[in-house]
């Protein structure tokens, strides 16, 4: 057990050091959520005046979506690191070290999770400066980050499956974007369900991102909505089982 933690810790640290050595990458994955946060809160600001919108202003409504988006952004880039490690021969180095193969994956998951958490903190700080307020206070913010990170890890599984199957970094990025953005916009992330057209409302109901956003939104605006939180965690768990199993399988297949 202690050995496993040491292995994961060593690889976690390596992945994080790498991340901070290339600040451009960190900047670019934060740039888009920040842009969305600033632009959308201005452009769609007057939407809050629509009857049935249900929130005081669009910023309050938008912040949880952007926190989710931040996690998703890191998630769909996760596989690129995997492709890099395969291409640079480092994965082979890890594979011939006398460590558990699962430690390699867990070290990666831990680093991804750390990255998502740090980026979420930053987004939340910026939105606080913009005037967003959090109903459930600091415990609620922590719960938000936890839920977003767990969802992000599940989502990162998709990226890693693509990475391990294609071993192509551009393709991994592209497929990540192509899967993430349509699904994000087909959720209740930018528009409450009541204002969505019927067909979209139906799609959104089957969209895992809607459940993530609902739980985060409740924490920001309404309080501890346990039902929404459990639903989000259940959806995350279901998603994680599918994506992480597929990723583990792809990994096993690749390493023979």
């Amino acid at each position: 057990m202690a050995r496993m933690f040491r292995e994961i810790h060593v690889l976690w640290k390596r992945n994080l050091v790498k991340l901070f050595r290339v600040p451009m990458l960190l900047f670019f994955s934060l740039f888009q959520p920040l842009l969305f946060l600033i632009l959308f809160s201005q452009v769609f600001g007057s939407m809050a005046k629509l009857p049935g919108f249900g929130y005081d202003n669009y910023l309050q409504f938008l912040v949880p979506t952007i926190v989710g988006l931040t996690a998703l952004n890191s998630a769909f880039q996760s596989g690129m690191g995997m492709v890099n490690d395969i291409d640079s021969g480092l994965l082979d180095k890890f594979l011939i070290a006398p460590i558990r193969r699962s430690s390699i994956l867990l070290g990666k998951v831990a680093a991804d999770a750390t990255r998502m958490a740090l980026q979420s903190v930053l987004i939340i700080a910026v939105s606080y400066l913009m005037g967003a307020r959090f109903k459930t206070g600091i415990p609620g913010v922590l719960a938000m980050i936890l839920i977003a990170v767990l969802f992000g890890i599940a989502w990162a599984g998709i990226s890693n499956v693509v990475a391990l199957r294609t071993r192509n970094s551009e393709l991994t990025m592209l497929i990540g974007i192509l899967i993430t953005f349509p699904i994000l916009f087909l959720s209740t992330g930018f528009m409450p369900a009541v204002l969505l057209p019927d067909w979209l409302d139906t799609v959104a109901k089957f969209n895992p991102i809607s459940y993530l956003v609902a739980a985060l939104r409740a924490l920001v605006n309404d309080g501890w909505d346990w039902t929404a939180m459990w639903q989000a965690l259940a959806v995350t768990a279901g998603l994680a089982v599918v994506t992480l199993t597929a990723a583990t399988r792809a990994f096993r297949k690749m390493v023979g």
Binding site: V10, R14, V17, K18, G89, K93, P98, G256
Partner: protein, 332 residues
């Protein structure tokens, strides 16, 4: 007991490509043993099976008494491996790369750091140790990669084409380093497509082609096994096919001459006691009216050994060692 024993190794990739077709050999402790062969001969596949990165279709690999398929983790403690493509992290410093490998091999933080410093000194990168590897030259990366394979004092080191892509100067430096390493007690198994490398570095080698070991032995023994010196006769560039065939016939009848092969208008052959029989060969060609523009007598190289056992030359961008002209020199 050999430190590495490979028996009846077969690897068929999905899709049916047979990369390794029944390879077997043994490496004794303290040796530098080499696999010499062209690209696609099965060298990398064999080495990847040995280092537990690839599962064989059938056959057995035993490292220091440990079966690598049944007990991969036990085997991993005993071996070091540097792949043909360097496995270093560009975003980390040289020292961080070494510490990372040390930690992954179970060293404590303190031990990993002191081992890293020690190895940086050995590979002559102490001054550059805290620079990011992304700024390193090819030779520096190769040295670092090699040092990475040594953090845990492996008894057996696997090197897949350790000098491919290096310039001659770096290649020589690496040879010296490998020799010193070998002197310190590390057994080395390496693959190469460079004749000179196999010749100067390996105590024993196996020539591998199309997944099969063709011949195995010490370089000098293999060369002596050809049974003579190598003579190359070059006809004028515009020589007709009939003239080449005629030359071949004439050469075939010279006493002590075997294995005449033709490349364009150049014929090479093995001549027993070459220096003493060369004059007779020249006279025979002259009598038959075969014009000769160039005549060489040389001690056999591993390429000649390769040619005999595979029917082809091992063509790599490498110049033949300077050959000695007709007055010749006897094999030592």
């Amino acid at each position: 007991m050999p430190i590495l024993e490979v028996q009846e190794l077969v690897k068929i990739y999905p899709g049916g490509v047979k990369a390794v077709d029944g390879v077997g050999f043994a490496v004794e402790e303290g040796e530098i043993f080499g696999f010499l062969g062209p690209n696609g001969a099965g060298k990398t596949t064999t080495i990847r099976i040995c280092v537990t990165l690839l599962a064989p279709t059938s056959g057995r690999v035993v490292v220091d008494g440990v079966d690598v398929v049944r007990q991969p983790e036990e085997a991993r403690h005993r071996i070091g491996y540097a792949a043909q493509s360097v496995g270093v992290d560009d975003d980390l410093t040289a020292r961080e790369n070494l510490v990372l490998q040390g930690r992954l091999h179970g060293l404590s933080k303190g031990d990993a750091h002191s081992k890293a410093s020690e190895l940086l000194e050995v590979i002559d990168l102490l001054d550059e140790g805290d620079r990011r590897v992304g700024t390193f030259s090819g030779g520096m990366r190769k040295r670092l990669d090699l040092a990475q394979a040594l953090v845990h004092h492996p008894r057996l080191l696997f090197l897949d084409e350790p000098t491919t892509g290096l310039d001659p100067q770096n290649r020589r430096a690496l040879w010296n380093y490998l020799r010193a390493l070998n002197d310190s007690g590390v057994t080395i198994f390496l693959t190469t497509q460079y004749l000179e490398e196999a010749d100067v570095l390996c105590g024993r080698l196996a020539i591998i082609d199309r997944g099969l070991i063709k011949v195995e032995g010490a370089p000098d023994t293999l060369k002596a096994g050809l049974g003579g010196d190598v003579v190359t006769v070059t006809l004028p560039g515009d020589a007709a096919d009939e003239l080449v065939s005629k030359a071949r016939r004439v050469l075939g009848e010279v006493p002590g001459c075997t294995e005449v092969t033709i490349a364009d208008t150049s014929l090479s052959l093995v001549l027993k006691d070459g220096a003493t029989r060369l004059a007779g060969l020249v006279r025979a060609l002259d009598a038959a009216g075969v014009p000769v523009v160039r005549l060489e007598l040389a001690e056999p190289t591993l390429d000649d050994v390769f040619l005999r056992h595979t029917g082809e030359r091992l063509r790599v961008d490498e110049v033949r060692p300077p050959s000695r002209m007709a007055h010749g020199r006897r094999r030592p």
